[in-house]
């Protein structure tokens, strides 16, 4: 097959095809025989944290919320029928989302996948917004920002991040603020578009019951690829490790206090992102997950409830761990959780047996994702780093040992900076 590499993952009986087109676009196809839906996602390596960057002749500092604003505007079409309408026209559902480090556009279709792919690539190949479309967008995004601000769990999460990474884009909503979006002008958007919406800064993944060869041939002959764009050199600003704000709180219309604990590694991780993420997740599950005796004690004594959750974010730009819970005893729980994660005294939940059952659970979660077309596409992209692939997760799970996980987790939490964010009832 021309230019496509075939990978076979025997664990789950799954073939995956990857290749890179001449223009630098990375393409992955994950065939799913028997499924009706095909989803294609194109990821642009440009997210909310990339508001500051250096080009050949300029240092650029753009308003917060720019990547998200751009995401909305990319669907525009010089005031004519926009791209989401064009997708509807072929019966495909389309949407987009912006994260900290990337902007993702996707469609889901039943038939006419190739027409959908043409539209998706056309969508990100060129900007078509106007001053008028931009000014209309500001009203819509204001409503979006307000909606998120009204969600206490979201405020908890973003509040904790603002303490952990102060004076960086991570301290601000992905959509920006009501003030920052007013500052965004036409030139900001075109500058960002021309520097980051380049084929060699994107990755395409297609999941579904697709004819791999013919789709790949179609991609190679896609006409807009001929218009080669300049490839300006850009370097993104590092996320600054400013001193943390240890403790913040606010009052809001909530029933119970909400607590978030966020941990930043002593120094940024530079490699083995997927393995680090997996190790941290296993470590957290073992010590304070559903199957731990620590969680059971807290749950039985009414200190925590089902809202208890933890999240591990590991990517090339930054990493953090966040534990969130509704609790009547935020101060006591904060101390208990920090103490537990440091593991100065080894918990009785640390055992080979417990570890093994968690590995099985994680493998089951991985399998469950295989049956959800859109989740699979997104998870694949999220775990795609240089030399690292989502489908290696089962192998990594198999190889990780209890002592590796405990050593890694203990070291991470003993050295990490930690912040508390609390929302108290009014």
């Amino acid at each position: 097959m021309s230019g496509l590499q075939e990978l076979y993952f025997a664990h789950i009986n799954q073939v995956v095809y990857t290749g890179q087109l001449e223009n630098g676009l990375q393409v992955t196809m994950i065939p799913k025989p028997g499924f009706k839906e095909t989803t294609a996602v194109i990821k642009v390596d440009f997210g909310s944290v990339d508001n500051e960057f250096t080009t050949v002749d300029n240092h650029v500092n753009q308003p917060y919320g720019l990547a998200h604003f751009l995401e909305h505007q990319v669907f525009e079409n010089h005031g004519r029928e926009d791209f989401s309408q064009k997708f509807s026209q072929i019966g495909a559902d389309s949407n987009a989302f912006t994260g900290f480090t990337s902007t993702n556009y996707y469609f889901a279709a039943i038939d006419d996948v190739e027409a959908g792919l043409d539209l998706l690539l056309t969508l990100v190949s060129q900007d078509r917004f106007t001053e008028l479309s931009m000014s209309k967008e500001k009203g819509i995004i204001k409503q979006e920002i307000d909606m998120y601000q009204d969600d206490p769990d979201y405020r908890l999460y973003s509040g904790a991040l603002s303490g952990l990474f102060p004076q960086t884009a991570l301290a601000v909503d992905i959509a920006g603020t009501n003030d920052s979006i007013q500052e965004i002008d036409y030139k900001d958007l075109t500058t960002a578009f021309s520097h980051f919406y380049r084929w060699d800064n994107m990755e395409l993944v297609i999941v579904g019951d697709v004819a791999v060869d013919s789709v790949y041939e179609r991609l190679k002959s896609f006409s807009l690829f001929e218009q080669t764009k300049e490839h300006p050199l850009v370097s993104k600003e590092q996320i600054a490790y400013n001193p943390i704000i240890q403790r913040q709180s606010l009052r809001s219309d909530v029933i119970k206090p909400k607590l978030a604990l966020a941990f930043r590694p002593h120094q940024p991780l530079v490699r083995q992102f997927n393995q680090s993420k997996l190790a941290l997740k296993l470590y957290l599950s073992m010590l304070l997950g559903w199957t731990s005796s620590a969680y059971q004690d807290w749950y039985d004594s009414g200190k925590v409830d089902d809202s208890f959750d933890y999240q591990v974010e590991v990517n090339e730009r930054f990493q953090f761990v966040m534990v969130t819970l509704d609790t009547d005893e935020p101060i006591a729980m904060s101390a208990k959780i920090k103490q537990l994660l440091k593991q100065n005294k080894v918990s009785k939940d640390v055992s080979e047996e417990h570890f093994l059952s968690l590995k099985k659970e994680f493998y089951g979660d991985f399998l469950a994702t295989q049956d959800k077309i859109e989740d699979l596409a997104v998870s694949y992209l999220e775990h795609c780093f240089d030399q690292e692939c989502y489908f290696d997760v089962p192998r990594m799970l198999e190889q990780l040992s209890l002592s590796e996980v405990v050593d890694f987790g203990r070291q991470f939490f003993q050295q990490a900076d930690v912040v508390d964010f609390t929302i108290f009832p009014k």
Binding site: H11, D93, Q143, V254, H354, E361, D371, I373
Partner: protein
């Protein structure tokens, strides 16, 4: 397949999934007391039982079964209450050991159903009290989710029937008024009197499974279920404004829409709702969001079991009248046929495609099968519904639009 009268097992055979799915659905008529009690039962079922007497042991077992995902949920169709136990789990050929995960999961379900955590006719009080306290908290916290909260407030305003005026999970007060005895007796009633449907989705060898189900100690039962609720059209539009200290305001509109699942104009109702507010190309989205920049989130939904259509929009406080006027205008355009045939065609295509998407999801397959076996309707085959959607024309849309009448407005007024 009938196990005994009122208890059925359904296989949904498909090769494409790497995981299997089991649903156990209890169906019964809505009553005054059963919502609160069944919410408590749903909590207890997902917490512990005699075989796995703490939530840690319960979860530990599920982890060992390759992270089998266990959950319970309540829902309704008209005047029928449904409690589901859902378990998704790895298919046997995807795991490295020789374990028979399906057998183990059936064994686990057995412990959930037949070994409840009780001490003499009532749930064990310590665990029960914790779960009750948590449920009360979750119900109180519902008001933190503004879209959900205002949706419940709209129901309260719209429905005449008291059972439909509150959340299916009931209210904090009513849950607090129940106890370990009343909740457990409700569970016994479910086991003895409810219609029970078991669904198994995946590539499954039927005979051994069927044998296992035949051994379950479930007695025959007679159930009469009403899946539809009708309420008279009112001449008065109920209106309520509530101030909250939020940024956004939420406008909620309730319409009488007397078209039910399986009715002749049911396909036209689906297309009508698609034109109005289900898709990015729908009128509410293009006119109110894209052209007028008045909302980020705006949509409509129909309930073909209660004859009810709702519209919900997150907006600024000052735009209430403007948005209401624009919504009314879109409905008027549908009523007078002022929309393009292109828009109609697009909507039908999107609806047909989303009906196909349902075939990729375990639980959607279960829902489709339930409707086929439990509901009286004319669309026993998906194919017929698809053809009916295909033939919906402008006249059918106008006819649906003329039957839709505004009945209630709930406005949650924020500060911005």
């Amino acid at each position: 397949m009938k196990i005994v009268e009122g208890v059925y097992l359904h296989f949904i055979q498909t090769e494409k999934f790497k995981t299997h799915h089991l649903t156990c659905r209890f169906s019964c008529p809505l009553t005054e007391d059963n919502r609160a009690r069944r919410s408590l039962v749903a909590q207890m079922l997902a917490t512990a039982n005699q075989a796995y007497p703490t939530s840690r042991l319960f979860r530990q077992r599920l982890a060992e079964l390759y992270g089998a995902h266990f959950s319970t949920k309540v829902s309704s169709k008209g005047m029928t209450h449904m409690l589901d136990i859902d378990i998704s789990f790895a298919s046997n050929n995807m795991v490295l050991t020789a374990e028979n995960i399906l057998d183990e999961v059936l064994e686990f379900l057995n412990s959930v159903l037949f070994q409840p955590l009780i001490s003499i006719e009532q749930y064990q009080s310590k665990t029960f009290k914790t779960e009750q306290a948590n449920l009360i908290n979750y119900l109180e916290a519902d008001k933190e989710d503004l879209f959900y909260y205002s949706d419940l407030e709209l129901d309260k305003l719209y429905f005449n029937h008291p059972y439909l005026q509150e959340s299916l999970y009931s209210t904090a007060d009513k849950v607090a008024a129940e106890n370990s005895y009343t909740a457990y007796q409700e569970f016994r009633r479910m086991m003895a009197e409810d219609r029970i449907d078991f669904f198994l989705v995946g590539s499954i060898e039927e005979y051994p499974v069927l044998q296992k189900f035949h051994q379950l100690p479930l007695k025959p039962r007679q159930t009469t279920l009403t899946y539809f609720y009708q309420q008279d059209l009112s001449n008065v539009i109920e209106e309520k404004i509530e101030r909250r200290s939020t940024s956004q305001s939420i406008l909620n509109l309730a319409y009488h829409s007397p078209i039910y699942y399986g009715d002749e104009d049911y396909p036209a109702l689906l297309v009508f709702n698609g034109l109005l507010g289900l898709f990015p190309h729908s009128l509410l989205f293009t006119e109110i969001r894209e052209k007028s920049s008045l909302a980020y989130s705006i949509s409509s939904q129909v309930n073909p079991y209660t004859g009810y259509l709702k519209i919900q929009a997150g907006i600024s406080k000052a735009d209430r009248q403007k948005v209401l006027r624009l919504v009314t205008q879109q409905l008027m355009n549908l009523k007078t046929g002022r929309f393009s045939t292109q828009l109609l065609g697009k909507t039908k295509k999107m609806l047909l495609n989303s009906s196909q998407l349902a075939l990729d999801n375990h639980k959607s397959l279960v829902e489709l099968r339930y409707n086929q076996v439990a509901l009286p309707n004319e669309f026993e085959q998906m194919k017929e519904l698809r053809q009916a959607i295909q033939s919906v024309d402008k006249a059918a849309i106008r006819s649906v639009a003329s039957k839709i009448r505004l009945q209630a407005i709930y406005f949650m007024e924020g500060e911005d």
